[in-house]
């Protein structure tokens, strides 16, 4: 209980807080859906992508998953729509759209 | 010995009155008494008048105040007689012990009419004879033990030998000198 972070959230009761509000475990930010803060949304144009992977390290939120050396579609649970990836892409394979999609 | 013996030490910073009070607590402890040994602390420096205290009792001591009506007063530095009211509160059935080379008659006028026992000891002479240096602690300690009768001479010397053996483990050559200072003081305090 003292380290269980699964009950943390806006409705957490004091009895369910971790000891001293410590957070046990790594990469816990992944559990937090920051994608809901997004104002603009990127679109991944798979056909234009050459898998150069310049976009992935440019993303401040690690919202471009890379598996076996290839990038996948955006992780919209964590993308905040900043548009840095669009500027990083040399092949116009990323387009930004206004609003949340 | 009374149920509770209270002793006040007057000295000057650096002369070891505090150490002497702690040594007395030490040796009295080793004879099975309850003890307190504590100095009065302030911003005093070398040469400033300082006060230290002892309580010795067969019973547990609970009180944690300074001592205002001592049974005995020990004056480690006779120059204090002119600036400090050393007999203040001193019980008339008690005594004052002064480290001096003078005869006690010449000091009595400095004792604010104190009617109790007055003892003197020339701790400097004893210390120089026994140790070749001036450490008034050991002679004054022996003098207060003798005058107060908190323990007999043999027990005192035996316990002090043990204490010195421990304290001077790295320089045993000074043990005999200190023991001699104690023995001389036991004889010469009067």
């Amino acid at each position: 209980m003292a380290s269980d972070i699964s009950k943390l959230g806006l409705d957490v009761k004091w009895q369910d807080l971790t000891l001293g509000c410590t957070i046990v475990g790594s990469s816990t930010a992944e559990e937090f859906n920051t994608g809901e803060w997004r104002i603009d949304t990127p679109k991944f144009l798979k056909d234009k992508c050459k898998q150069c992977l310049l976009c992935a390290p440019a993303c401040p939120d690690s919202a471009i998953p890379v598996v076996n050396g290839r990038r996948l579609d955006f992780d919209l649970d964590h993308c905040k729509g900043c548009g840095i990836c669009e500027k990083a892409c040399p092949f116009d394979a990323i387009l930004m759209f206004k609003g949340v999609k | 010995m009374k149920d509770l013996v209270e002793i006040r030490w007057h000295g000057r910073g650096g002369q070891g009155a505090k150490t002497a009070a702690l040594l007395l607590a030490d040796v009295a402890f080793s004879t099975g008494l309850y003890v307190q040994g504590f100095p009065e602390y302030g911003p005093e420096r070398m040469g400033a008048p300082i006060t230290a205290y002892n309580r010795l009792s067969a019973n547990k001591i609970r009180v944690h105040s300074n001592i205002y009506d001592p049974d005995y007063v020990v004056v480690v530095d006779e120059t204090l007689l002119e600036s400090v009211d050393v007999t203040k509160g001193l019980k008339e059935d008690g005594a004052i012990i002064i480290n001096t080379s003078q005869r006690k008659e010449s000091l009595i006028p400095l004792l604010n009419g104190y009617k109790g026992g007055v003892y003197t000891i020339d701790a400097r002479k004893i210390s120089i004879t026994a140790l070749g240096k001036y450490f008034p602690n050991s002679p004054m300690l022996a003098a207060i033990v003798k005058v107060s009768g908190v323990m007999d001479d043999e027990t005192f010397l035996e316990e002090m030998r043990k204490s010195y053996a421990h304290k001077f483990a790295s320089k045993p050559e000074v043990i005999e000198g200190n023991m001699m200072a104690l023995s001389l003081a036991l004889e010469e305090v009067r």
């Binding site: 509000c21 | 504590f38 300074n66």
Partner: protein, 393 residues
């Protein structure tokens, strides 16, 4: 087998620390607690303990290092006094809210100003609401015994809070008195190893301490912390019981001295309680029913139990060894009154500020407090609720 010794309060606490053999000691020297790290570093140098001693450049750093060290999983100890504790204030709160069972030996000394090195409780009382457990001693024996019990209380899973083990500067810290020590292995077994569930250096686990809490969390965080502090009451008694089994000395939240049938009583903390007992004995010899309640555990405050112990008292003096600048009472005065009020008890109460900056507290001065209570008894007039003892005016 108890070891009969004669030690000053500082020597006694340093001895307990040696027997506990904590992992880390960050400390910065300040009178009158300086001797504690001084003795302790000699134990470190002589190889008598395995402790890592961290010299730091201030008390703020000392407590910050304590927090880092304790969070890393190391049993951590420090010592301070007066302005040193005041300089720690910011981080004292962090140590408590991070639920780190650090132990601090506080040798109580007046806070400046005027600058002074002697005893009062203004330092401890200034830190009374930082979330630390606070436990006080009357003499060197209690300072030692409390130190031996400290980690067992602080590190208990239901508590996990830092603990301040307090004694009176110079009055007990520098006075050599008789004491009974426990043997090293007895203390070692009693205290045991510190085995936190989670800590920074734990293999194959990550943990973050002290994360930012948005408004939505802070009240819940405080409430959870309060629960830990409240649990310290139960644990203090459990630990005291176990301690009695190894030492023969019994402890509780407070000590009641001739209180059972007392009409006149005094609530007091620290070394002056011993002096007060002598005053009570003399008054009892004259047929005056006087008694003492000496606080041991001040945080958490054992409010209900204190009220229960005082329920038959008709005239009560509450003794505060600090000026709280409240205007009408001291901290102990306020809290004991609250305890009584909550139980619908209404003895005549006066609250004294006493013993500031080492002002000597004597059998006579404490007897005069009981005389003041008798005066209220005789006249029915409470007079001033908040008074100064032994002040020239």
């Amino acid at each position: 087998m108890a070891i009969k010794e004669r030690l000053s309060g500082n020597e006694a606490v340093a001895t307990a620390m040696r027997q506990i053999n904590p992992d880390v000691m960050p400390a910065y020297p300040i009178t009158p607690s300086t001797e504690i790290p001084q003795y302790f570093t000699s134990y470190v140098s002589n190889g008598q303990v395995d402790t890592v001693f961290i010299p730091v450049e201030s008390e703020h750093s000392a407590m910050s290092a304590c927090i880092g060290s304790e969070a890393a999983g190391a049993r951590t100890i420090t010592a301070t006094s007066s302005c040193g504790l005041a300089l720690m204030w910011e981080v004292l709160n962090v140590a408590a809210s991070d639920r780190l069972p650090i132990c601090l030996s506080l040798v109580c000394r007046a806070l400046s100003g005027p600058i002074n090195i002697n005893c009062d409780h203004s330092d401890a009382m200034g830190a009374r609401n930082t979330g630390w457990i606070q436990i006080f001693a009357e003499n060197n024996q209690e300072a030692y015994d409390n130190m031996v019990q400290a980690y067992r209380i602080a590190e208990h899973k239901d508590v996990m809070l830092p603990i301040m083990v307090c004694q009176d500067g110079f009055i007990t810290s520098h006075a050599v008195e008789n004491i009974e020590l426990l043997e090293d292995d007895v203390v070692k077994n009693f205290v045991g190893e510190y085995e936190p569930d989670h800590y920074l250096l734990k293999d194959d686990e990550s943990i973050a301490y002290g994360p930012y809490a948005v408004t939505n969390y802070v009240m819940e965080a405080r409430r959870a912390q309060l629960e830990g502090l409240r649990n310290a009451k139960k644990v203090t008694l459990e630990v005291a019981k176990e301690f009695e089994a190894i030492s023969g000395r019994s402890y509780g939240f407070f000590e009641e001295y001739r209180l059972e049938d007392a009409d006149l009583a005094m609530v007091i903390i620290g070394s002056a309680a011993g002096t007060a007992k002598d005053a009570v004995d003399a008054l009892r010899d004259h047929g005056i029913k006087a008694g003492i309640l000496k606080i041991r555990l001040f945080r958490p405050f054992p409010s209900e139990e204190i009220a229960e112990a005082l329920k038959n008292v008709k005239y009560l003096a509450i003794m505060d060894r600090c000026e709280d600048f409240n205007g009408s009472c001291g901290p102990l005065g306020a809290e004991v009154r609250t305890a009584l009020y909550n139980k619908n008890l209404h003895p005549a109460v006066i609250n004294y500020c006493y013993g500031l900056g080492g002002r000597d507290v004597t059998v006579e001065s404490l007897t005069s407090v009981f005389r003041d209570l008798q005066k209220i008894q005789e006249t029915g007039n409470n007079g001033e609720f908040y008074r100064y003892l032994s002040v020239r005016e």
